[in-house]
């Protein structure tokens, strides 16, 4: 007798359909525009959401399974690392300052990415895109969490790791990553997906993760390396999602092209400005270097990005206009940014220092056209003064760019001896910019950027003192009050690495680990 045996397993495609699109429905009680109120105002036209393809066809049940497996491995390694005093195996305590930057500047962005993807995962009218964004939202939350768990181990031993979320909302230099992401999540869903999903995750993410994760591997930091690898398979999926989004939007309507191009121009520039901190980390903060910023830029942007934009040319997308300026800046970026953090090392949660002679030779060799001419004399002077007990600290707050919020430290394209100044009058007020590109971003949406929370101006307005302070009281020390508001321990978390508590402790503990006395 023939019996119909029910099929036990569904094919991948059927499963994907059942678990994504079949979970969606058309609204009847409310018009669609009211259910998806953010779908149209940016001017992007989508005619058929069913053309959206998730290249991974990932469904929730499979997602939980994979992620749980990765999680188990990650936490086993973190435990082993912390129980075996893994922190004493890093090349040098200077290295940990790079990780402090990661925890205060990058980890909070993972959380912001979670919020952003959760939002667009609700805002897109297409079910396939919604599901993919929801899963990315969970990934981003998980990245924030695993990073905090991996790095909190260092907080037991070293200074500056103690209050990243509080600092992220307050400390002057952290307004750069914070305002970057605030700009993205306050944009519409399509701009968000182009800014973070494509420009950041696809075009620039290698320039963030490879330096930090390889930096960790080169410098004996198993904790950071492990969460990096654990996040890697997610990143591959995120990159594919970002690229898929761009192609889908462009294929839907030719009118979408100029809007998408403007967003790509804007977000590549904003992303590169944000990554200037990674440039300095690579060239100055890793005791064992991976490669120079310039080399990383050439491989990951000029070569890989160049191929990508060639591929997108069939949609009419062009290489962002800022690429030429970035090509020129790659010779200067890390040196200029490190100089700025050296200036203001009294107000950060990490230490700075002058490179040793051997390190300066490496820099000369990696930057033969610029380092010796423009930067070595400054750094040798600073080193000399530091050794005489006259370490340089800039005690006056810097002028900031209205858009990227970075101190106006970048030089004029083509002339590395002059600061680049740009300004614009808008509704009777003056606004200042570090570059033409930051000015153009402002010009496109001035009503957004006039609201920038610029830390220097906020300090001068009296908004960055601990609650209950009286700035008119005799003997009021504004700098000390600002650092207290940041929850920074002045002189302990910051200043020069030479003579710091981190340096002394690391040496002493490593000595104890190797000797019996």
């Amino acid at each position: 007798m023939d019996m119909q045996v029910p099929k036990k397993k569904l094919g991948l495609k059927e499963r994907y359909t059942l678990m994504t699109r079949d979970l969606a429905w058309d609204t009847t009680y409310q018009p669609k525009e009211k259910v998806y109120p953010y779908a149209d105002y940016e001017g992007i036209k989508i005619h058929d959401w069913d053309k959206w393809e998730d290249p991974f066809r990932l469904t929730m049940d499979a997602y939980w399974k994979y992620q749980a497996e990765k999680e188990r491995k990650l936490y086993a390694i973190i435990d082993a690392y912390s129980q075996s005093n893994g922190h004493l195996g890093v090349t040098d305590a200077r290295y940990l300052n790079a990780i402090k930057i990661f925890l205060t500047a990058v980890t909070p962005l993972e959380y912001m990415a979670h919020r952003g993807f959760a939002h667009v995962g609700r805002a897109f009218p297409g079910a396939g895109a919604r599901v993919a964004c929801q899963m990315q939202a969970i990934d981003e939350m998980r990245h924030a969490q695993t990073q905090i768990h991996s790095l909190s181990n260092y907080n037991k031993y070293y200074n500056g790791f103690h209050d990243a979320p509080h600092m992220f909302d307050r400390v002057w230099y952290l307004s750069v990553p914070k305002s970057f992401f605030d700009d993205a999540i306050t944009a519409g869903p399509f701009e968000f997906i182009v800014s973070i999903g494509f420009s950041f995750e696809y075009v620039l993410t290698n320039l963030l993760f490879v330096p930090f994760v390889s930096g960790a591997a080169y410098n004996g930091d198993m904790g950071t390396m492990t969460f990096g690898f654990s996040a890697q398979s997610d990143e591959a999926r995120h990159m594919t999602l970002g690229l898929e989004c761009i192609k889908f939007i462009l294929e839907q309507d030719p009118a979408n092209l100029p809007i998408v191009q403007r967003w790509i121009d804007k977000w590549c520039w904003r992303g590169v400005r944000l990554l200037s901190i990674v440039a300095m980390m690579m060239d100055y903060m890793l005791p064992k270097r991976v490669m120079s910023w310039k080399e990383a830029w050439e491989i990951y942007f000029e070569e890989n990005g160049g191929a990508l934009f060639k591929d997108l040319a069939r949609y009419g997308i062009k290489m962002p206009a800022c690429a030429e300026q970035i090509r020129q800046e790659k010779e200067h970026l890390s040196h200029q940014v490190w100089s700025a953090f050296y200036n203001y090392s009294g107000a950060t949660d990490f230490h700075t220092w002058m490179p040793t002679e051997e390190e300066m030779q490496w820099l000369s060799q990696k930057y033969p056209d610029t380092f010796d001419q423009h930067y070595r004399p400054r750094f040798e002077f600073w080193r000399e003064q530091q050794q005489k007990g006259n370490r340089f600290y800039n005690k006056t707050l810097p002028m900031l760019c209205q858009t990227c919020q970075i101190p106006m430290l970048f030089t004029e394209p083509g002339d590395p001896t002059k600061i680049c100044y740009r300004e614009r009058d808008y509704k009777g007020s003056k606004y200042h910019f570090c570059s033409d590109h930051c000015q153009h971003i402002f010009d496109n949406e001035p009503e957004k950027y006039v609201q920038a929370w610029l830390p220097v101006h906020q300090i001068y307005q009296g908004n960055c003192f601990p609650e209950g302070s009286d700035p008119t009281a005799p003997g009021f020390d504004p700098l000390a009050a600002v650092l207290e508001h940041y929850r920074l321990n002045a002189g302990r978390d910051n200043g020069d690495f030479e003579g710091s508590e981190d340096q002394r402790n690391f040496e002493a503990w490593r000595g104890m680990a190797k000797r019996n006395d």
């Binding site: 004399p377 002028m399 001896t417 300004e423 009503e447």
Partner: protein, 119 residues
Amino acid sequence: MQVAAVKEYAGTPRDGVENFHGNQLLYIGWDDHLMFCAPLAFPFPPTLRFGDIVEKVLPGAYGYHPDWARIDWSKVEWLKSGQPWTPHFNRTLAENGLGHKDVLRFRTPGLTGIQGSCS
């Protein structure tokens, strides 16, 4: 387009002069001296004598640099928003026509920083 928004939207500028408790912002940059990584931002009352900035404030900000002591102030060239400009040292900021968030640069001819590197 002033901003992409679902409805009429106007931002409130956060840095209006009324928020600075009687001060206005003035930015000052010393050309060819990149040891100071960026121009500096100062909150000053509009009634401040311009000369007081040069005589009393800037030495604290720039005095660390070996070139500072060598400046010949009779030869210094000033720029306001990138255009040549002449300050009157005995007049106030307001009398000098300096408004909120104006930017000044000064050039010190013959002084080009540490070993001529513009540092």
